[in-house]
Amino acid sequence: MKLKQFQRCALLATTLLCGPAALAHGPAFDCYLEREGQVKCVAGFTDGSSAVGRKILVRDLGGKVLLEGDVGPDSSFGFQVPQDPYSVTFLGGEGHEVTLQSADITP
């Protein structure tokens, strides 16, 4: 009985802790050109949770990965502008990928 009660409490706690976050959670991502040929990308989530440590991929138009890195402690990731057109993808978790094309990345 006690074990069942514990399991129910654990389930309730898990639902309360994880449920709303899972429902409200969405990726937010943008990149812009900085001086000296740098691209700066910033990433986050719509519930305010941190994107620090999440992966970011820079690919050429053929899909080849040119660069891979992590979102830094300031929620950003920077890289040198590739010579040819490219895309940047924020891997924010399952169903939470956002890709920007280089044509949409401006100062």
Binding site: G26, V42, P107
Partner: protein
């Protein structure tokens, strides 16, 4: 013919009564408060009567105009303000405009703008009005410091995101003076009834809604015992919330000073 003077008198009285049933509001306007991505911003600061599209009062040079970015970093924008003549329904008066480049707001999250205007002398009432005004916008959907008090002498603290409200929803906020709640503060709520034409520095000619009677021009209510005010947002667009005469500074230039707190909230239709 003989009743014409009477008609004129009635008309004049009606206009006076209508005029008294509207509030002075320090408008701090931007086209959209919830931006999917950052873009250059155009802001307008106009001291006016929002429901009736005027008359507009002349603004002196603001004392403070600050941008707070999502990291809490403050930028003084006073020097970027430019004075303009604002055309309202029936008069022109000095107001201020600000153009911000995309770079200033491209960080994801909440961006807050604070305005401390020069006190305005309301000659008819023989008092000064100073409305500390706050506007919060968001870039990209990442929430931030929208609910945090920003240290103004008088302030309205949002209890919901000011930039993410559906038409027909309810909005709550807390009235603060020196950072503390103001129980039973007198609050006025007014709808910005005319579109703004930022190209012409003018209110648009057409009003969105018509009040059935002068009392509807501005809603008057009181905060509760915790200083919390609750209001509905029955129409898409901009709603101004002003808490009146809550500051601790009560005089200016030898006259009574009303220090008011203003917050602007945008309601958006569900489509």
């Amino acid at each position: 013919m003989t009743y014409k003077p009477l008609l004129h008198a009635v008309a004049a009285t009606t206009m006076c009564l209508a005029g008294s049933a509207q509030a002075h509001f320090q408008l701090l306007y931007i086209d959209d408060t919830a931006l999917p991505r950052a873009h250059p911003l155009e802001l307008a600061a106009v001291f006016t009567h929002p429901f009736s599209g005027g008359p507009t009062m002349a603004m002196g040079a603001p004392r403070m105009f600050t941008h707070i970015d999502p990291h809490g970093e403050r930028t003084d924008l006073l020097k970027a303000l430019r004075p303009v003549q604002w055309q309202s329904r029936d008069n022109q008066a000095s107001a201020y405009r600000l153009s911000l480049p995309r770079e200033a707001v491209r960080t994801l999250g909440d961006h807050t703008f604070l305005l401390e205007p020069e006190p305005y002398l309301e000659a008819e009432e023989g008092l000064y009005i100073q409305q500390f005004t706050k506007l919060v916008i968001n870039v990209g959907g990442v929430p931030g410091n929208w609910s945090e008090p920003q240290g103004l002498p008088v302030e309205i603290q949002p209890l919901g995101k000011p930039y993410a409200n559906w038409t027909g929803g309810v909005f709550r906020a807390r009235v603060l003076a020196d950072g503390k709640p103001v129980p039973f503060a007198k609050v006025e709520v007014e709808y910005l009834n005319n579109d703004l034409d930022l190209q012409r520095n003018a209110f648009g000619a057409n009003a969105h809604v018509r009040a059935p009677q002068a009392s509807f021009n501005v809603q008057s209510l009181y905060a509760d015992d915790l200083g919390i005010v609750t209001l509905g947002l029955p129409h898409a667009g901009w709603w101004g919330i002003a808490a009146l005469d809550i500051g601790s500074t009560k005089t200016y230039n030898g006259k009574t000073l009303s220090q008011d707190a203003v917050l602007w909230v945008q309601a958006t239709d569900m489509k």
